[in-house]
Structure formats: C-alpha cells, structure tokens
C-alpha cells in the first residue's frame, strides 16, 4: 500500500523495518527527521534497537563503527558539516571493511553557512572506499536502503545512500514501505563471519597497524573489491526487483541497471547526465517541450537522452561510455564542484571517455547551496552544450 510520506519519514520507517541493532546520531543541524523519527520510534516502544545519542558526528560514526565491529547491523545518518566531521571515521569504516549503511542528506558545505541542498558534502568523501548510491525520488530512496544492507553485508563494504537534502528529505510523495516480514525474506538477519568481529571469547585485532610492507596491498585489495562488487550489485538488483515489484523507477527507461538509467532515443544528439532529484526536473522540462506533454515523444523529436547515475562508486565507466558515446554533445550536470577544476562527475566522465569516444563533454554546475534548478536552466544547458567551447559553466539563472 502506498502512503504519502515525507522523505525522511519514509527512510526512518524503512530502517525500522530493516531492524538494525544499533542506531547512533548527533541531534543538531545539520540533521534530518530521519534520526528524529528513529528516536521517537524507540521512545514509543515501537523499535528495539539501541539508540545512542552521540556528542558529535565524529562520535556517532565512531559508535556505529564500534557496534558494527562487534558483528551487528547498524545505522546512522548525517549531512554537510556533519559528514565532514565524520570524514576520518568514514575512511576507517571502509578500511576496516565494516558493512555500515549510512544515509547522507546531501547539503552544501560552509562557508558561507548554508543548510540547503547540493552534493558537495558526499563528493568530499568519494574516495573513501564506500559504495555510493544516489536516489531520484522517495521510492528509489526506500529501495536503495534495503539493497544497501544486502550488498554491504554480502561484500563487507560500507554503503552510503545519498538523498538530496530538503528536495527529498523534507518533501512528500506517494511511497510504499515494505513490511518487516517482506524485507526479512530478501534481507535475512545479519550474521558476521566467525573470527572477524570483536568477541571476548575469541579476541581479535581490527584496524591494526600496517607498515609500508603491507599497506599498499591492503589498499589495492579494497580498490579491487570495490570494482568487483559490481557483479554482486547487479545480481542483488535483479533479485530485489523480483522480490519487490512496487518499484516505480526505470519503467519509462530504455536502459535500466543498478548503476544507471537511460531514457531516450538510441540515436541521441544531446545527452544530459546527472545524479539525484534533478533528474526529475530534467524529465519535466523535456516533457513540456513542443506543447505535446509527452516525455517519450519529446525525447525522440528533440533527440535528447537523459542519463541518471544511480551508483557513483564503484564508478560505472563502461556502462556510461556505452550510452554517451552515441551522442554528439554530453552535458554533465553537477551539484558540486572540485574548486579550481570542473564538476566532479563531469571530471570522472571526461577521464573515462579520454581516447574512447568522440562526444563533446561539458561540465555544468547547478543548484549550489539550494539554488532552485528551473526548467529554464535545463533548457539553457541544452542550448549551451551545442555551442563551441567546453569550459565549465555555472548555470545560476
């Protein structure tokens, strides 16, 4: 059954049904209703996880790290400055191969102080070794959280589910939350591997010291495992879709995988690439062109393709190139920037495309610090990408 729910509440209800043993969070701005709702469920006796209120985001991340090391399922959520404060622990979690799932409600980073949406926060920890999901809408957010636990626990890799702050966390949409019983069939109770968790009866050392003799191989292995995780992610996505048929995403799409979703003709002239909720705005913009109110018809007529990236790490380079290689112009729309370089997703795509495809790839920056991304801006990007030059452009108006 579908309910009209706030994004944060939808996530909180999903987490309650996923049934972690420990939830920890720091209750101040920047934070969302997700952990507030989880605290209330606990206070009202509706949930039996241990809820640890931390003294900082650094502590919250450390508490879930410790709890996960004892071999139980954990959850935390953060965003913006909170994620930056967690950064050291975020690296430790991946390095220690703990299957932690965290929601990041993507928001801008100070200074100037700003509590609104963009994706600069997560992009600052993109190299930490986490699998990174990006959701477009509420239903996808719910689905990705359930998949995240399955993948994390199977691969012993942490997963971060990114949802656009405010745009998804504070808005209402119809969404279906699977019950605890339904989830349990797809995602059984977590059992950690024997001898690989903290247990007084069988002491082990985790996160130990590694000298130059070993460190490099350990990092290389983490990288290789992230790359290899794509196979399991693909399997789990197919399994998920069999278990939960409510998924609304990807129905109009031409190509749909756990990593990306492409909607548009097979011979596009322009492809717009983006991550998160802005995809909805792009689809709306194209739908309304030519006064015919049809996304599919307009995509054909305008020869425009829309490419949504759903998993940013491990980076689906081959899958992306297969799609964008057919277009003459590729506009990569980032809600973050590597200051002094270009948009971060754009930079990754350009690196992957080097010497392999001939499309012009241009970086466009939108929506920083909560600036609304309007249909006019999307149209402007479509016009701009077809002109000469490929320097990074800020589209603020």
């Amino acid at each position: 059954m579908k309910n009209i729910l706030e994004g944060s509440r939808a996530i909180a209800l999903t987490i309650k049904n996923i049934n972690p043993a420990v939830v920890s969070a720091y209750p101040i701005t920047p934070q969302t209703h997700i952990v507030e709702d989880l605290a209330k469920f606990k206070a009202d006796g509706e949930a039996d996880y241990e809820y640890a209120r931390a003294e900082s985001e650094f502590a919250a991340a450390s508490i879930v790290l410790g709890a996960s090391a004892t071999g139980v399922r954990t959850y935390t959520a953060t965003c913006s400055q909170g994620l930056l404060l967690m950064a050291e622990v975020v690296y430790n979690i991946a390095g220690m191969r703990l299957p932690i799932v965290m929601t990041c409600a993507n928001r801008a980073v100070s200074a100037p102080i700003n509590i609104w949406n963009d994706q600069q926060d997560v992009m600052s920890v993109r190299d930490a070794g986490w699998i990174m999901f990006f959701a477009e809408n509420h239903q996808e957010t719910v689905d990705q959280h359930i998949m995240a636990y399955k993948i994390a626990e199977k691969l012993k890799l942490p997963v971060m589910v990114n949802v656009d702050g405010f745009v998804l966390t504070h808005t209402y949409e119809p969404v279906e939350i699977p019950t605890r019983e339904q989830i349990k069939k797809y995602l059984p109770d977590y059992k950690s591997t024997k001898g690989e968790f903290l247990d007084p009866n069988n002491p082990v050392t985790m996160g130990a010291f590694a000298t130059p003799a070993d460190y490099m191989e350990i990092r290389e292995e983490l990288h290789n495992d992230l790359i290899a995780s794509k196979k399991i992610i693909d399997e789990e996505y197919k399994k998920f879709n069999k278990f939960f048929k409510q998924t609304v995403n990807g129905q109009q799409s031409t190509v749909n995988s756990p990593f990306l979703e492409y909607t548009g003709p097979s011979n596009p002239k322009v492809i717009l690439v983006a991550m998160g909720s802005v995809i909805g705005t792009i689809k709306e913009t194209v739908s309304e062109m030519n006064n015919i109110k049809s996304l599919a018809a307009n995509l054909m007529r305008e020869k425009i393709g829309i490419l949504k990236i759903k998993i940013y790490r491990p980076f689906p380079a081959e899958e992306i190139l297969k799609i964008i290689g057919k277009a003459k112009y590729v506009a990569v729309i980032d809600k973050s920037i590597s200051l002094g370089q270009i948009g971060i997703l754009a930079s990754d795509i350009k690196a992957a495309a080097q010497g392999k495809i001939n499309s012009k790839i241009q970086s466009f920056i939108v929506g920083l610090g909560g600036r609304d991304v309007t249909k006019e801006m999307v149209k402007k990007i479509i016009r701009e990408v077809k002109t000469n030059g490929d320097e990074v452009k800020f589209i603020g108006k």
Partner: protein, 85 residues
C-alpha cells in the same frame, strides 16, 4: 589479505628503526627499581634475569628512542646514545 588478526601479532612490525637515540643501561648502576619499564610507552623494557648482575634493558627491535626511561631513572643508569645504524 587478512585484515582482522589475532591480538599480539603486530609485533612482526619492528618499529625500532624509527629512533634517533637508543637507551644504554649501565648494569652496574641499575638498582632494579623497574621504573623505566613502567614509564616506557612501548612497554618493551624487561628485566634481564640471566645477566651476571640482573638489570633492566630495552628491546631495541621496538624502542623508539623517546628518552622517557633515561629521564625517569632515579640513579641515572640510562644514557641516550646516538643510534648510528
């Protein structure tokens, strides 16, 4: 590579090479009070029972040369020497 290991296995990492100075104990002066073993942040000073006159000395495979033992020794039995190796 196994990253969860048994306790006490990191002793394979010989960290003594990091130091500049090493502690040299004079067995004659040492009164076996054990203070140096207590203050050593590495926990690697042991009593040598087999020596003709038992005294405390550091395991140089791990001593980082901080000099705490020399500073604390009540009878100045420890001298920090430049490690030329």
């Amino acid at each position: 590579m196994k990253i969860v290991v048994k306790p006490n296995t990191s002793i394979k990492n010989k960290t003594g090479g990091w130091r500049t100075f090493y502690p040299e104990v004079s067995p004659q002066k040492c009164i076996n009070c054990g203070l140096c073993a207590k203050v050593c942040p590495e926990g690697i000073i042991y009593k040598d029972e087999k020596a003709p006159k038992p005294y405390f000395h550091a395991d140089l495979d791990y001593c980082k040369g901080c000099g705490l033992c020399a500073a604390e020794c009540p009878v100045k039995a420890i001298t920090m020497m430049l490690d030329n190796k």
